[in-house]
């Protein structure tokens, strides 16, 4: 289905590729002059960037469509179409636009990841399993945080700009988490946890951090954001007025 409009798909893909090449050039120039950035060598950064692109494509492939459609559904008063169905409404909304056909778009991310591991001659072993678990947790936290933004549509008429702001903030996930400090680090590891999305799984894979400490942190974040989203959902439904 994704390849039904091949020209569109290929041009979109090559546009992403151009952007990826730009980032790689940036780091290439940096690493010609330094050996590491906060303990991350060039191979580690490739693993980080590969993780970032895989995460973004996984989100785009699965939950993005459903989440972006929610504000329009609420605005249009059509939410009861989903509320009346004999399935969990939140799961239905999140999964209604899953497009597994897009999986091939994550290929550059996988290639970068494997290349980064090869440069460092890392044999992943059990860390690969932990990496996948951490990546899935990052994906769910990213999804739930975007879902919280979409739930604001119960109170605000226009929330699309907030999605764009959040997409801009995810720029912070492209760089090693160690570079951030001060109040920015505190905010972007807790309230808006963009820094951890790709850094945490990458750290596990390259052996910079243990799975236990990262898993605990991500699990707590997931519980907190899930709680917030459920509260917003329930309060939103009370406020919601449908068309018919």
């Amino acid at each position: 289905m994704d390849l039904a409009f091949r020209v569109d798909v290929f041009f979109n893909f090559f546009t992403q590729l151009v952007y990826l090449i730009g980032i790689l050039l940036l780091f290439r120039v940096i690493y010609l002059n330094v050996n590491s950035i906060g303990g991350f060598n060039i191979g580690d950064v490739y693993v980080l960037l590969g993780t970032y692109f895989i995460l973004i494509e996984a989100y785009n492939m699965t939950f993005r469509g459903g989440i972006l459609s929610l504000p329009e559904t609420v605005k249009g008063g059509n939410l009861e179409i989903y509320l009346l169905k004999p399935v969990n409404t939140i799961a239905f909304i999140l999964l209604k636009s899953v497009n597994i056909g897009r999986v091939w778009r994550a290929l550059p991310g996988f290639i970068l990841l494997i290349y980064g591991l090869k440069i460092n001659d890392i044999h992943t072993g059990m860390n690969l399993v932990y990496y996948i678990i951490s990546l899935i947790l990052s994906l769910i936290i990213y999804t739930v945080s975007n879902f919280c933004i979409s739930l604001l549509s119960f109170w605000f008429y226009e929330v699309n700009n907030m999605f764009y702001i959040y997409d801009d903030l995810v720029e912070f996930a492209k760089y090693p988490d160690v570079i951030y400090s001060g109040i920015i680090r505190k905010i972007f590891m807790t309230i808006i946890p963009v820094i951890i999305f790709s850094s945490f799984p990458a750290r596990i894979l390259i052996g910079l951090s243990s799975f236990q400490e990262i898993f605990t942190y991500q699990a707590i974040l997931l519980l907190v954001f899930s709680g917030i989203s459920l509260i917003l959902w329930r309060r939103g439904l009370v406020k919601y007025q449908g068309r018919g």
Binding site: F11, F14, G22, V29, I30, N161, D168, L169, V178
Partner: protein, 263 residues
């Protein structure tokens, strides 16, 4: 005649003012990426180092300035141009006593002015936040020359996008070529990395896209002065002449091929 184009620009300003909130949110495009890059460069260059002659202040200022310039340059011109060729509505413009290129250039400037104002506000905000790391030129001429070159870059970016839109005379899918090339051109404008740090820099510094970000930033940083500026000004003028002439030529050739139903 010029009044006609100014009026069309004014109409676009009024149209954009209807969506003030969108322009306000546009601030984040100028604010957020430089903040992320600031932390990266602070980690790399905090101990007084430099890369290719750029120290920490140079790099931070460079990215703040180029982020503003490049994100506010219209590389895709106006997608409506290509769409009007495909759906035949270009015939409405062909019978009017206006220059198609100039009309869209003025309309585009009108539609972007509000974003430029908010963008400058964003640059001021991020400069205040990072005030210990930003180079602030003292001479008014530096600001004037940076903006002058960027204005030239806008004409270059618009002309480039205009020519790509005109490919709709021959190709069904020119829109995707435009979006694809936007990414490349933003890179070649120096948005992600100063062009003089790239391999094969002579090639990137020959192309006209440097005027959309790299050259204005170099002037702002005080890395270009005197004869260099004069040389770049002549170079920019030549590129503008070439691209504007090419735009008109492609339009002339394409409009001979153009067909519309009902007209």
């Amino acid at each position: 005649m010029i009044r006609l184009y100014l009026e069309s620009a004014k109409c676009e300003v009024k149209r954009m003012l209807q969506y003030k909130a969108n322009s306000l949110f546009y601030l984040t495009v100028v604010l957020i990426p430089p903040l992320a890059l600031f932390f990266l460069w602070k980690t790399i260059l905090s101990h007084g180092g430099s890369i290719g002659g750029y120290n920490l202040s140079d790099m931070v200022t460079y990215f703040i300035v180029t982020q503003f310039f490049v994100m506010n340059t219209p590389y895709s011109a106006w997608i409506e141009i290509g769409e009007s060729i495909k759906d035949g509505s270009l015939s409405l413009w062909l019978v009017r006593p206006v220059n198609h290129y100039l009309l869209y250039l003025f309309r585009l400037i009108g539609s972007w002015i509000i974003q430029w104002i908010f963008g400058i506000a964003g640059v001021i905000v991020v400069s205040i936040i990072l005030k210990d790391y930003v180079v602030i030129p003292k001479e008014a001429s530096t600001y004037f020359l940076s903006i002058l070159f960027w204005m030239g870059g806008i004409v270059i970016g618009f002309s480039y996008g205009y020519i790509l839109n005109l490919l709709s005379f021959w190709f069904e899918r020119s829109t995707y070529i435009i979006y694809f090339s936007e990414g490349i051109v933003a890179l070649l404008s120096g948005m992600l990395i100063p062009l003089d740090l790239l391999p094969a820099k002579s090639l990137w510094l020959f192309l006209p896209f440097k005027f959309c970000g790299y050259v204005p930033a170099q002037i702002f940083l005080g890395k270009m002065a005197g004869l260099d500026i004069a040389f770049e000004f002549v170079s920019m003028t030549i590129w503008i002449f070439v691209l504007v002439s090419l735009s008109h030529l492609v339009f002339k050739i394409g409009s001979r091929k153009f067909t519309a139903s009902g007209g």
